[in-house]
Amino acid sequence: MPQRHRMAMPAENHWWPWRLERRSRPSALMRLASSPLAAVAMIICGFVALRFIGIDPIAAFKVFFVEPVSSLYGVGELLLKATPLMLCALGLAPGYRANVWNIGAEGQFTIGAIVGAGIGLFFNSQLGAATLPLMLLGGIAGGMAWAAIPAFLRLRFHTSEIFVSLMLVYIAQLLLSWLVHGPWRDPAGQNFPQSPPLPDSATLQPLFEGARVNIVFLIGLGLAAAFWWFERFTAAGFRLRVGGLAPAAAAYAGISERRNVWLALMISGGAAGLAGISEVAGPIGMLQPVVSPGYGFAAIIVAFVGRLHPFGIVLSSLLMSALYLGGESAQVELQLPSSVTGLFQGTLLFFLLAAELFIHFRLRPVART
């Protein structure tokens, strides 16, 4: 087999004064720096844009990043919102490393919320103290079941999990909508489309007085450590990585694609389902037509910004949570629409993807001939 020689830049690009050159080894510095760089670039870019529409960037910065966390309650909110993002992203990351593209965490989140809340609503009296743990387990199982569909279809029919998991988001949301408009609607709810509130024994209590963040945040941190250990020290984590880096090498070494796809989707589905039930059993307290402001999608960004590393994800989920909170306070104080959060998120991911390039490549001025 001939060595694949690198080809020269074609003449078409001679107007561009730099060219990309592959580094002989990936840059460790850029590996650490790419996410912070992307965050800084996003903030600069965002405030230039705000300046452009007539908002003072300094004031905006305060409203976005300082005010929301200037109280204990605010810090609690930061951790609270980071929780579902962290859980979903932690679950997605091993799959993305293994080339399993579950982009339907939002749907698994929703089904987890439905299954868990169902346990809390209908079996609360029989289960007693076991209700809450069973609700969380039910949420995990629900998310896994929903993620099992794309896993099965990919392995049995070669159907792309990207499309299937995404279509299942819409289906899950419609299912939830039907439940809260129909069979599970609260008879005492003045016709609002929502379920009865979950009883106290089926609700997650705040970690401390004066804030809403609950135990699931700590579970998330524990999971981050567990995932780190899993990826670094277990054979299953190793097999996932090989499957993503070199599928042919995985087949050659006898690593089962089937096992990898199932494992990746069960992890991501379970984590998203846990996030879903935690939202419903925590801050929301009941089922309503919308249980997530797009956590499942934002988690994709969180996973990438965290460079698919569990500890990176913890940090990036805090950043993304800050963006959500900032967006809310900007809505109130600067009359900016909530969609500005989405805009910031998208920009952040773009910058990150661009910054990642410099882990493997560097810019070199083109030698003039």
């Binding site: 080809m7 982009i103 969609s339 993807l353």
Partner: protein, 308 residues
């Protein structure tokens, strides 16, 4: 059920299919060049917003569609810069483009929510449009509907019969070989991505000026993803993609008429139909792995770096 009802259903199905047609045909060209842009949903929304806003401000539908095409192409350009010049992962970047497009359109379009706009006028072809049944079935649509058919024919001809189309396919199959033959791989991929963006933009504009003449955040409701699935369903061939789009148009419309047809199923379940249909159709097409292997552009989704 009268013939009249069926004609109405068929005519609405064509309307519902048209945005899917534009977006999917654009993506066919992008993907045939080897570029997988999963950001169709985002590009459609930007197009829908840009088209609606310019339509309201200028009152000109021509300008509205032009703006939509430009808007779609502009954010496709962002995608192209990232994936083609900066070599980012196409799947991840496409997802980012979707999220970005949703945010950007919602942000920029916030002033236009709830405003009314006149629907794109239906053409009246003297004589033809007045024919019984056929007149309504074939000759009473708006210009963009006919435009989509022309685009389909043009793209099919371009890909299969022209030298430029041949070069584009070559770039999608084996970019390394095409480069060795002196083809400007990156430039061709840029153009293909921009074309796909423009078509998605037009698809969005048709949504906000014809299907439901208004602007609302996230109004494409997954149609961009369905269009992507249609490309697979149509095995990357324009006429098959068009057929698939009409099939989906019909599914979408049937659920709206289902209640009228005396079918009493909660509306949520009917609304699920297009999404379920997408999954079913994908399973059907992909069940034999070879169908995809034979038809999918060989380098789809893979970065190509001409120098080092």
């Amino acid at each position: 059920m009268t013939i009249d009802t069926w004609v109405t259903i068929a005519a609405s199905a064509v309307g519902a299919a048209t945005p899917l047609t534009y977006a999917a045909l654009g993506e066919v060209v992008t993907e045939r060049a080897g570029v997988l842009n999963l950001g169709v949903e985002g590009m459609m929304l930007v197009g829908a917003m840009a088209g609606f806003a310019v339509g309201i401000m200028t009152g000109s539908l021509w300008l509205a569609y032009l703006a939509a095409a430009l808007g779609g192409a502009m954010i496709a350009l962002l995608f192209a810069v990232l994936t083609l010049s900066l070599q980012t992962n196409q799947v991840a970047t496409g997802l980012a483009l979707t999220l970005f497009g949703i945010g950007l359109s919602a942000f920029a379009g916030r002033g236009f929510v709830g405003m009314p706009i006149a629907r794109v006028p239906l053409l009246h072809l003297p004589g033809l449009s007045d024919l019984p049944v056929l007149g309504r079935l074939l000759f009473s649509y708006d210009l963009p509907v006919y435009g989509s058919l022309v685009m389909c024919a043009a793209i099919a001809w371009f890909l299969q019969r022209t030298r430029a189309g041949l070069r584009l396919r070559a770039v999608g199959e084996q970019p390394g070989a095409a480069h060795a033959l002196g083809e400007p791989v990156i430039r061709i991929r840029y153009l293909a991505a921009l074309f796909g963006g423009a078509m998605s933009g037009i698809a969005g504009a048709y949504l906000s000026t014809a299907v439901t003449p208004m602007w609302a955040e996230g109004m494409s409701a997954g149609r961009g993803w369905i269009a992507l699935a249609l490309v697979v369903f149509g095995t990357w061939r324009p006429w098959r993609v068009l057929g698939g789009a009409y099939l989906f148009g019909l599914v979408t419309v049937l659920q709206l008429y289902a209640q009228g047809l005396g079918i009493h199923i909660p509306s949520e379940f009917l609304s699920m139909l297009p999404y379920i249909a997408t999954i079913v159709v994908l399973v059907f097409v992909c069940r034999d792995g070879r169908t995809i292997l034979l038809n999918q552009p060989a380098s789809l989704g893979r970065s190509f770096h001409p120098g080092a």
